[in-house]
């Protein structure tokens, strides 16, 4: 049943207990993202050192998919370089069917490549909800772009 696939336990856990929730005292980059159509909101702070994300904090409100996706992203990107984050972003967009191509998961070992993020695969069967899952990633891209512009 596809609804059970969409609302996996791990998604509901991130929705109810979002990781890295809050704001940073001295962020190097910030972005606000929202889906005007459905009202999902995300505000994202992050710090960087030598092209590596060292910390991130997110506040937001919206549906379980948008908020769980943000929580999973926050958990995943700390310690990664900008190049690694760029690669990860493309993998997630392929997972969600936003970009064409193989997301490069290991079918033998679920969760081995993208961790909890892989649980969002069910969203691709609900086209109107894909933008909910993507909101965190577009907001992250905006924060990183504004940071590189400011340097």
């Amino acid at each position: 049943m596809s609804l059970d696939e969409l609302y996996r336990q791990v998604i509901l856990d991130h929705y109810r207990n979002p990781r890295r929730s809050g704001t940073l005292a001295a962020p190097d980059a910030h972005a606000d993202g929202n889906n005007p159509l459905c009202g999902d909101e995300i505000a994202l702070d992050l710090t960087l050192r030598d092209d590596r994300v060292t910390d991130i904090a997110i506040t937001g409100r919206g549906c379980s998919i948008s908020q769980a996706s943000a929580s999973m992203m926050a958990e995943r990107i700390v310690g990664k370089t900008l190049a690694e984050i760029d690669g990860l972003t493309h993998q997630v967009k392929r997972l969600l069917d936003i970009e064409e191509g193989d997301p490069g998961l290991d079918p033998e070992r679920p969760g081995a490549v993208l961790g909890d993020i892989e649980s969002l695969a069910g969203v691709r069967r609900f086209p109107v909800r894909v933008k909910c899952a993507d909101l965190a990633w577009t907001t992250l891209a905006e924060a990183l772009a504004s940071h590189s512009e400011n340097r």
Partner: protein
């Protein structure tokens, strides 16, 4: 006690379709209603047999099209008991009707310090046009608050509607709460301070018998597509003297008496407010929708809505952790029922319900100030019309139980 209109369902082809393998349960009529074959056929016949531009050309088709278009106006006028058909202006819908008043009357009568009184349950269509003209004229907005039981707080009328108020604009029925607006009180208060009164009747006219002369307001706006008709057309009713003192909000063909290089004079009512080629086929559909509703009888439409809303409120009350936003007394409300369920976001609810074939609206319903009053980011909303049957409410309720299971709500 139940008003059974289920025989009408056969007139609505779309109600036969399935969604995700389940029979469609369409509970979003507050957004737009489905259309009976009588409306579809009338519009089809118009294009197949009579299509021509109106009010110009002396040939047979043009005369037929003009007659058909003006006949639709007469039907709308009769439906709301307007004094004369010229008091009915065809617009693109409720939104453009309210903008026509804001720009045609407000822009030319408001001065700095004047006030426009609204309620906090308004749709954006009855907020933003007033903000736009307030910005130009220096007028200010003032709001009547709501009571804890989701009604407009009429005890605040004397405080809010004072001599500074020049326009009182309010919802006849809330698209979120279902609450019927304080028509008599607001109109009387407006009159007492010499203000004009405007009723946003987008939700009221489709669901309630309407007599504009009994209501006594100056203007009343509504849309065809929320009452079985097509999108793209609605009506602005205005008392003749008010329409006469208004300037056109749009200029162009059709609305002029004479055009010189540097000035023009306006056509008589109603054409003064209908610039450009009007939505003719849509007017035909609007007229057919009104014929349909009149044949059913608006008293029965209202009775049916009360019954199915009562059934919905009772069944929703059985679901743990479900909160309804709106009055419980069906005498005070219509069939738009907003709710939230535990910590399940309304968009998640809408997705889950859709899998059961149930179409509901989730979001802020173009009423963001009201969402802030209710202190919720969004609600889910089930809304009913004459083709809905009690068993559809039961499908909704079963799907809401499924949502509780999926989200592990204890």
């Amino acid at each position: 006690m139940t008003t059974d209109l289920s025989h009408l369902r056969a007139d609505f082809p779309i109600l036969e379709r399935e969604v995700h393998g389940k029979p469609l349960v369409y509970l979003d009529s507050a957004a737009t209603t489905q259309k009976p074959v009588q409306v579809l056929d009338a519009m089809d016949d118009y294009y197949r047999l009579h299509n021509a531009n109106v009010h110009r050309g002396a040939y047979t088709l043009a005369e037929e099209a003009t007659e058909i278009y003006e006949d639709a106006r007469r039907r709308v006028a009769r439906f709301i008991n307007a004094a004369v058909p010229e008091e009915v202006i065809f617009t693109r819908g409720t939104t453009s009707a309210i903008n026509t008043i804001a720009y045609g009357w407000g822009l030319h009568h408001l001065k700095p310090g004047d006030r426009i009184a609204l309620t906090t349950m308004e749709h954006h269509a009855n907020i933003v046009p007033w903000q736009l003209v307030a910005r130009v004229t220096g007028a200010e907005l003032a709001y009547l608050p709501l009571t804890d039981d989701f009604r407009v707080d009429v005890s605040a009328i004397d405080d809010v509607i004072d001599s500074r108020v020049k326009i009182v604009a309010f919802s006849g029925m809330s698209n979120v709460l279902g609450t019927i607006g304080p028509l008599a009180e607001a109109v009387a208060a407006a009159r007492a301070v010499g203000a004009i009164s405007v009723v946003d009747a987008a939700q009221l006219v489709p669901h309630h018998p309407i007599d504009v002369r009994a209501i006594g307001a100056d203007f009343l706006a509504f849309s065809a597509h929320k009452m079985l008709g097509p999108t793209g057309i609605g009506a602005l009713w205005g008392r003749r003297d008010r329409l006469e003192e208004m300037e056109p909000a749009e200029g162009g063909g059709e609305m002029i008496r004479d055009v010189q290089l540097h000035s023009s004079t306006w056509a008589d009512l109603p054409h003064k407010f209908e610039a450009g080629t009007p939505p003719i086929a849509e007017a035909v559909g609007f007229g057919a929708a009104i014929d349909y509703l009149a044949a059913v009888g608006m008293d029965r439409v209202r009775d049916h809505e009360r019954d199915i809303t009562r059934h919905a409120l009772d069944r929703l009350a059985e679901i743990p952790d479900l909160t309804v936003y709106g009055p419980d007394d069906t005498a005070l409300r219509g069939g738009a029922v907003s709710f939230t369920l535990a910590d399940i976001h309304p968009h998640d609810l809408a997705t889950i319900l859709d899998q059961a074939g149930v179409a509901v609206r989730a979001g802020h319903h173009c009423a963001k100030p009201l969402m802030r009053v209710l202190d919720v980011p969004a609600t889910a909303r089930a809304s009913f019309y004459l083709y809905n049957v009690p068993s559809e409410v039961d499908v909704l309720v079963a799907a809401l139980h499924e949502a509780r299971r999926l989200f592990g709500v204890a």
